[in-house]
Symmetry: C2
C-alpha cells in the first residue's frame, strides 16, 4: 500500500480555466506524461476500470513495455477510491474538492506540483462522479473518456449530450448485467453516433474482464505506450 497524498481545494478563486488547461498540457508534454480524464456517473465503475487498466498496462511482453502509471482521484469527500488504487501498489493523489462538483485545470495544476512527473508515463484523472459539470471544464488532459454502465440505461446520450460530445471514447461497463435489463446496445450506438460520430465504444465488464483487452490496447495506442 502506497502513501496517499491529499490535495485540499478550499475557497480560492480560480481564474480563466482554458489558459490554465493549456499550461497543464505544456507541463505534461514537457515531462513526457500523458493524462487521461475519466468521467462518469457515481458508481459506473471508474475506479474499477482504472484498476483493470493498470493491470493491463503493467504487463510487459513482446514489444510492450510496462507502463509507469499514477492516479489522481477526485472526490468531494472521502479517500475510498485512493485507498483502492494505493492498495494495488500504484501512486494515488487525492483531490478533495469540497463543494466542487467537477475538477478544473487549477486543481490539476495544484496536484501536479505535488508529483514527480518524470516517473510517470500515464496519469489517470478520476473525475468527480457526475455526468454534467465535469464536461464543462477542460482539465488539460490529452484524452477525455467516459463510462456509461448498463444499469444506467441506453438513453443517457439524449440527456447528457455535452459529456458525449466532449469525450473521444465511451466505455460501456457492466455488460454482464445486460441480460437483466432492457439496455439496447444498438440504440445506444445510434444515439452516440448522432452526437459524436468519431466516438470509440468499448463494451466491457470490469467484473468478468470481458472487453478489457481491447480497451487497454486502445489506451496504449492513444498514448503511444
Amino acid at each position: 500500500m502506497k502513501d496517499i497524498r491529499l490535495i485540499e481545494i478550499g475557497e480560492e478563486i480560480h481564474g480563466e480555466n482554458k489558459a490554465e488547461a493549456a499550461r497543464v498540457r505544456k507541463l505534461l508534454s514537457a515531462a513526457g506524461t500523458g493524462m487521461l480524464n475519466l468521467m462518469a456517473s457515481p458508481g459506473a465503475g471508474k475506479t474499477s476500470l482504472i484498476l483493470k487498466t493498470l493491470e493491463g498496462l503493467a504487463v510487459h511482453d513482446a514489444g510492450r513495455k510496462a507502463v509507469r502509471s499514477a492516479v489522481i482521484e477526485a472526490d468531494m469527500d472521502s479517500l475510498v477510491d485512493s485507498e483502492k488504487i494505493s492498495a494495488a501498489g500504484v501512486e494515488a493523489v487525492q483531490i478533495r474538492t469540497g463543494g466542487f462538483c467537477h475538477v478544473d485545470a487549477w486543481m490539476v495544476m495544484k496536484t501536479l506540483s505535488a508529483m514527480d512527473l518524470a516517473a510517470v508515463d500515464l496519469l489517470f484523472l478520476e473525475n468527480v462522479g457526475n455526468l454534467i459539470c465535469p464536461a464543462q471544464f477542460d482539465t488539460g488532459a490529452r484524452a477525455n473518456v467516459m463510462i456509461l454502465s448498463v444499469p444506467e440505461g441506453d438513453d443517457k446520450a439524449l440527456k447528457y449530450p455535452l459529456m458525449f460530445r466532449e469525450c473521444e471514447a465511451l466505455v460501456v461497463n457492466k455488460i454482464d448485467f445486460l441480460e437483466l435489463t432492457d439496455f439496447d446496445m444498438e440504440k445506444l450506438e445510434q444515439r452516440v453516433k448522432l452526437l459524436n460520430s468519431d466516438m470509440k465504444i468499448f463494451p466491457v465488464s470490469c467484473r468478468t474482464g470481458e472487453g478489457i483487452g481491447d480497451w487497454v490496447d486502445w489506451v496504449r495506442s492513444r498514448f503511444t505506450l
Copy 2:
C-alpha cells in the same frame, strides 16, 4: 398521452434562492399541494420510481383516496422522461435546464406559474440526474428524497454526504440486482445512520415491484394523503 408543457431556462440571473424557496412553499401550501423533490444519479430509476408511485397513489380503496398527482421533470435536454409520465396519463411539465446541473427555487416558481395547482394534491419534482449540485439548492419542496441504486455501490454515502444529509428518505432501488453485486445493505445502513440518523430507508425494485407498497404508504403518510 397528455400534452407536455416545456419550460426553458435561459441565461436569466437568479436571486437569493432561500427566499424564493420560501415563496414556493407558501404558494404550494396555500394551494394545498405537496411537493416531493426526488434526486439521484443518472439511471438510478427516478422516472421508474415515480411511475410506480403514481400507480400506487391512484389506488382508492377502504380509507384511501385516489391522489391527484403531477410531475415536474427536469433535464438538461430531451423530453424522454416527460414522455413516459405523459404516456401514463399524468400531467408532466418539463424544465429544460440548459447548462444547469440542478433545479433551483426560481425554476420551480416559473414552472408552478404554468400549472393549475388547485387540481394537484401531490407534485413530484424529478431533479437533474446528479448526486452533488441538486443537494445544494432548496427547491421549496416539503420533502427531499434520494434514490441509490444497487449497481452504484454501497459506498456512496461516504462520497456524497451532503445529499444523504439533505434527504429524509432513501429509496434503495434495483434490489433485484443484489445477488449479482457485492452491495452490502448493512454497511450502507451503518454509513447512512452516521450522516443522518433519522433517514428512512426503503429497499425496492421498480422492476419487480418489491418494496413499493411500503414506500407508497410512507408517501401517503408524509403528505397526509
